[in-house]
């Protein structure tokens, strides 16, 4: 079983970041998140197990944390409202007057903590996604790593998989992610003098 073998091997590198996926729902069997420095090590393990490279790509998560924060705030606010309403209703049911209802509502609303806005701006991230599969037996392994959006750097794996060369160039084209140690990180699909990265979320036509 390739899956077990690769799970054991990868568990050494990233023990807590392994997640088995359901193929019918996700299309992959294993989802591994590693840090940028662990990428080469993890890919070497996959190489040793005879995996082939399917693709490398990126995802720009611009505003992900901000949106998450907003969602959290909205959810908390809604929760507070609900709690307030419930408290007010309780008081009303008990026969309390309007003022008592309001006081109870306020009290209950204050009881729900609303996440505070962070002091520093949100740290924006990009994700590099590596897809590997095996010829002998179906076993798609997704390897992910997150890099800061301000300085997106990942070590290259093109010395392990020469096929990664073009995929990394393409990812560099589209996202501006630097693959450190790549032999020739020039634009592949974009014009030679392209200085823009079209798949970044802040790039607009």
């Amino acid at each position: 079983m390739k899956l077990n073998a690769i799970k054991q091997a990868l568990a050494v590198i990233a023990p807590e970041a392994l997640a088995e996926a359901e193929h019918a729902k996700k299309g992959a069997l294993l989802d591994v998140t590693v840090s940028a420095t662990q990428v080469v090590e993890a890919v070497s393990v996959l190489d040793k197990e005879g995996f082939f490279i399917e693709a490398i790509t990126g995802v720009d998560w611009l505003g992900e944390k901000e949106n998450a924060h907003k969602d959290a705030v909205a959810a908390a606010k809604k929760k507070a409202q609900d709690a307030g309403k419930a408290a007010a209703k309780k008081v009303a049911d008990a026969g309390g007057d309007e003022e008592a209802q309001k006081a109870a509502q306020k009290e209950a609303e204050a009881g729900v903590a609303i996440p505070a806005a962070p002091v520093e701006p949100f740290s924006e991230e990009m994700e590099v996604v590596y897809d590997f599969n095996n010829f002998a037996e179906f076993c798609r392994v997704v390897l992910r790593t997150r890099v800061p959006r301000s300085n997106p750097e990942v070590p290259t794996i093109s010395h392990i998989y020469p096929g990664a060369n073009w995929h990394e160039r393409e990812t560099h084209d589209f996202f501006g992610i630097k693959f450190v140690g790549h032999p020739y990180l020039a634009p592949l699909l974009l014009p030679e003098d392209a200085d823009f990265h079209p798949l970044k979320k802040d790039f607009h036509v």
Partner: protein, 372 residues
């Protein structure tokens, strides 16, 4: 400046093969460093027909991206349709009626035959034989007529929908498809006698452009390229989707790894596809061709999803990242020829120019699909 600037000496010269060259099928450009007629180094230069489909996807609704998929690989458009609808159905959890899946497989396999026929003609044309191209076109026209009668167009079909297909086949289709298969079965021996067994062609392909199993793995080559190198890898068997598990077909594998092996894989695949179409026509169930519950506006749950299909050129995968809205957050299209071509630079080192072109032809390049 180029990737191989350091290898140049006074003895070599640089030859620009393309972007307008008869053998590069479109707008591929290959920078060749040549020593006489021997290739010292080769670097494919891409991007001449780059359209940034992935960005287009982020600016369109899920359904609006559908026409784009057929325009990546215009020769096997339905398989790309299939890959995309499958991943969205996986993401949104849409069930597809059985009849629709059968129709998808029938049309996709017919489309695969047409793609292989065109490749066959164009490949022999690369090698200098002109007539087989037009014989292959004669047969291909019949498929296009059949597919046109179902989908309404001849090349960029856009026939599949989330939850089914665009419309049902008409009453003449099944008979037409069977008649076509009968006709092609009769023509295949002619192709083999005229081309496959021709001594000139054999000399041009045998032991030319060997690609090893290890090389396929390192470069991620799939499809007939991998199968010509002895790798039994076909997404239809490996990671079964649609109704392929219910159909009986073989995966042709040749171990030689040369251009002839890749040629034979595709020729055998035509026969296997005919088998699949016949079986699917026999088993074709009655019923709706569109899921009754398919939502009109697709909003898949948050998360990312992957789906691979076997196209005429290899494993085509779509990774979609959904943020729960009606447009994809990120849409990655893994095109098989991109990986297949990436090994060309290494494989053609030390070869003669005509042999390198035979190798390039045997990779079956469709440039819009590489550049996307």
């Amino acid at each position: 400046m180029s990737a191989f600037a350091q290898t140049q000496t006074n003895e070599t010269f640089v030859l620009n093969l393309g972007p307008q060259h008869p053998a590069t099928h479109g707008v591929l450009r290959v920078k060749l460093v040549m020593d006489g007629e021997y290739i010292v180094d080769a670097e494919p230069v891409l991007g001449y027909i780059h359209r940034m489909h992935e960005k287009m996807g982020e600016n369109r609704t899920w359904a609006q991206f559908m026409p784009n998929t057929g325009r990546m690989d215009y020769l096997h458009a339905l398989a790309y349709n299939h890959g995309y609808v499958s991943v969205v159905e996986r993401a949104a959890g849409i069930e597809v009626p059985e009849r629709a899946e059968y129709l998808r497989v029938i049309t996709t396999e017919l489309n695969r035959i047409s793609s292989h026929l065109l490749w066959f003609g164009a490949f022999v044309l690369d090698l200098g034989g002109f007539s087989p191209l037009l014989y292959a076109f004669d047969d291909r026209e019949q498929i296009l007529d059949l597919l046109e009668s179902v989908t309404g167009s001849r090349l960029t079909y856009c026939y599949f929908r989330f939850g089914g297909v665009y419309n049902d086949i008409d009453e003449n289709f099944a008979a037409g498809a069977r008649a076509f298969i009968k006709r092609l079965r009769e023509r295949m021996p002619m192709y083999h006698a005229l081309v496959t067994k021709n001594i000139i062609l054999m000399k041009r392909l045998q032991e030319i452009g060997p690609i090893s199993e290890e090389m396929c793995r390192k470069y991620g080559a799939t499809g007939p390229v991998a199968r010509g190198s002895g790798i039994n890898f076909d997404v239809r068997k490996h990671e079964p989707y649609s109704i392929y598990p219910e159909l009986r077909f073989d995966v042709p594998v040749y171990t030689e790894g040369d251009s002839m092996a890749r040629y034979m894989v595709r020729m055998d695949e035509i026969e296997q596809s005919m088998r699949i179409v016949e079986q699917a026509l026999d088993k074709l169930p009655e019923g709706p061709v569109m899921a009754a519950k398919a939502p009109k506006i697709i909003k898949p749950a948050k998360g990312d999803y992957y789906h691979a299909v076997e196209t005429a050129r290899g494993s085509f995968g779509v990774r979609v990242v959904s943020d729960g809205s009606n447009t994809p957050y990120r849409l990655k299209l893994r095109s098989p020829t991109f990986s297949n071509l990436s090994l060309f630079g290494e494989a053609c080192r030390g070869m003669l120019l005509p042999d390198a072109l035979a190798l390039m032809g045997s990779l079956d390049l469709v440039i819009p699909e590489i550049d996307r």
